[in-house]
Subunit: 213 residues, 2 copies
């Protein structure tokens, strides 16, 4: 094993460190967030930081980098309009999805710069990504500033959920592997996982409980 | 596509809803968090909510469910001792790792209830998981309460990083696929992904920039 202590971590070359630390959490979700500006310019941007906050109410969060560091068109649009979409990235659109990480000005729609296709749904303002097997219409709920590095955690509520009917199981579990959904490692690694197994709900082993009594 | 609007989402059976909403963010990391209590009882527990907060300083967060809902031995130990470990789950230990989600009392160590092996490293108090290809010694930094559902976001800093030398690439990227690291879907689905490709850093396409001028 290679051991990097705090001193060695501090001294790493910046690009090396960004690649390394971005790899440290493990697999990350691959999502496209769709928004529209006040000026009606649609934006679609890749995020790998969407995280489940709770099921009841159905809340998801994602992380926004500090202002000044990168363009934050997605965040700006959400603050202005309160609504956005989250769309799962699948195998056929990985290249275009990843390209949305390029820093386009806010007057350029990533739908024009890539082959990603917009899908507009009835009574919903922000754009979805066509053929994405899991599409969510989100309402902005709140945000929390992480003082330690000035990132923002944006909390949203799922108010409309669209799911490919082939992947939903009887108990509500979504087999996203079946729809070739992508996972991200580090800043730019992509996998299309296959499902190994579902392991079920776990209860303490009786043998252990008896031994301890 | 199946469409669940807010009304339909609200009326879902609870188990169905938990499975469904836990599947909605996409792939999740599979991590074991190791802690030790004031009474020296070691705890190891599975988490799928570890998320990258920033590289400089190297910060990771994870989500703790509301108190009362589930035992929070991991959180209690971190608050008491300030240190913990995060270990990547790999193929050979998936069953035992998942079993740590069973609700054992705080006086029972999951190391005794499973075949997971502890690894103690010099000058580090909390236990690591033996043979895990990415092991991190974390220092508690801060926490944020998500008022909307009373969950807690715990922020920690990587102070020691141990990495299997076979998976680290020249630019710092970790090919965790090479070490058979697991990804989680929903509450209990496991995958062992293979790396499709690294897509590299993206710059805006010149053709788009010219067209817009």
């Amino acid at each position: 094993m290679i051991h990097l202590n705090q001193e060695k971590l501090d001294k790493l070359n910046n690009i090396f460190k960004i690649n390394l630390i971005n790899s440290c959490s493990g697999y990350k979700p691959a999502n496209l967030i769709g928004t529209v500006s006040k000026e009606n310019i649609e934006n679609i941007a890749i995020f790998s930081s969407v995280v489940h906050i709770g099921s009841n109410p159905p809340l998801l969060a994602f992380i926004v980098r500090p202002s000044g560091e990168v363009p934050r068109n997605t965040y700006k649009n959400i603050k202005e309009t309160k609504y956005y979409t989250i769309n799962h990235i699948f195998e056929n659109i990985v290249d275009d999805a990843h390209h949305t990480s390029a820093r386009y000005d806010e007057n350029i729609s990533e739908f024009d710069a890539t082959n990603l296709e917009r899908e507009i749904k009835e009574n919903i303002k922000p754009p979805f990504v066509k053929d994405s097997p899991v599409q969510m219409h989100m309402e902005y709920v709140n945000e929390y500033n992480i003082h330690e590095n000035n990132t923002t955690i944006v909390i949203g509520k799922i108010i409309d959920l669209f799911v490919n009917e082939d992947i939903i199981q009887k108990d509500g579990y979504l087999n996203i592997c079946k729809a070739n959904v992508a996972a991200i490692t580090g800043l730019d690694g992509y996998s299309i996982p296959t499902l190994l197994d579902r392991k079920g709900y776990q209860r303490p082993k009786a043998s252990i409980l008896i031994k301890k009594k």
